[in-house]
Symmetry: C2
Subunit: 209 residues, 2 copies
DNA sequence: AGCGTTTTGGATCGGCCGATCCAATCAAGT
DNA sequence: ACTTGATTGGATCGGCCGATCCAAAACGCT
């Protein structure tokens, strides 16, 4: 956020936004390296000078896309994760994720996951952005699990930090396999297995139910 | 394996192999789209005519790389997964995976996972190859879990099919997050959580141990 | 209305991309 | 040794890549 000039007028902001949205969509569909600056220009209906006015170079555009997609993904999950205080809420989140992917016919997977896989080794700053994004995601889940434990729904030994991280990795792995197999099963089984594990960490009810 | 001409002489086979190894290494480091045919030529010490003599075009080369990496990954795992008949063996496999990634400083992740993420949406045939590769991997794990169940180490309700798939997704998700965070924790927590879940499915021992 | 700044159009650049071509060389069987 | 086909060297092509540049237009402010 340093070298490219930030738009000061309303129209400038709109143009920058249009470029960002076009780039995000294309890079999600075709990957970062598979998307040319010309592609973005065409999709956004914008000239060279416009694009390079708001983004110093392709790398700067990529990093803006990473920030954009990270915020989108977290914003989509936040409503369901904010009130993650019961196993029902956990299942509702699972259903939400499964439905989103099913609606997309298992194309694309997780925007953050795809970007991470492509950029982690080649763009240290993008990698750091994504690591921070995943950490925010993890924190949302962890706070929910902590609430469940504090409310006495989970045993004291249940570790919300580890379970939150395991849930997030299960989600990412499930998404990748579902994207590869074009099928819901891996995502479903992956999340359900983790949910079953968490279920097994409930406090034993006084009666034998 | 239809359009490109297969090498008939010893030297031809060696050249093709050299190209394949160079392409696999580069595409693992920089991604498929990030690796140019010229890069491969340079790395393999080979001319245009040589490369295009053995591979019809870049797409054919990519698909050969997918097959090559798939076989490598499965061959690396096979020794440990073939005798997957106890929780100890499962832990040995976990240790192996963790050590390999640690030795690589968490660069690169899983070759199959990276290829899947990049190619699943853009190259249907590569996607299919990878789906089959993951299926073979899954089968290895599943057979081990079945053996454990049949030997009475796991409860009858434990479902080896689902557990095998969940283990594979946990591995892939853990690898992705570890690659992003440049840290062993996600991979470790992801696999350990699944192992703990499987441990909780052991047959209850007669005594209270 | 007039001024300074932001925003835009669009031509242009050098370099790399994937791919093709022809001719020369090498290997293997007889 | 000779022949046939496999293998190789290397020049070359058109097109796209990321990026730069200058001048014109639009904007915001007084």
């Amino acid at each position: 956020m340093s070298s490219e000039s930030m738009p000061l007028t309303r129209k400038g902001r709109a143009t920058r936004e249009r470029i960002l949205e076009a780039a995000s969509a294309l890079m999600f569909e075709r990957g970062v390296a598979g998307t040319s600056v010309d592609d973005v220009k065409r999709e956004a209906g914008v000239s060279s000078s416009q694009l390079y006015h708001y983004f110093a170079d392709k790398q700067a555009l990529v990093r803006a896309v990473v920030a954009y997609q990270t915020d989108l993904v977290l914003a989509a999950n936040e409503p369901l994760l904010a009130r993650l205080d019961s196993l029902e809420a956990l299942r509702a989140w699972r259903d939400f994720v499964v439905e989103v992917q099913t609606a997309a016919d298992f194309f694309g997977g997780c925007p953050m996951g795809s970007l991470a896989s492509e950029l982690a080794d080649s763009d240290p700053q993008a990698r750091e952005q994504l690591a921070l994004g995943f950490a925010r995601w993890e924190t949302m889940i962890r706070d929910g699990l902590r609430a469940m434990r504090d409310r006495g729904e989970l045993r004291a030994e249940a570790d919300p930090d580890r379970l939150a991280l395991a849930l997030l990795t299960a989600l990412q792995g499930g998404l990748l396999l579902s994207q590869t197999r074009r099928e819901v099963t891996p995502l479903q089984v992956s999340l359900d297995t983790m949910l079953e594990h968490i279920t097994s960490l409930r406090v034993p009810s006084p009666s034998g139910t």
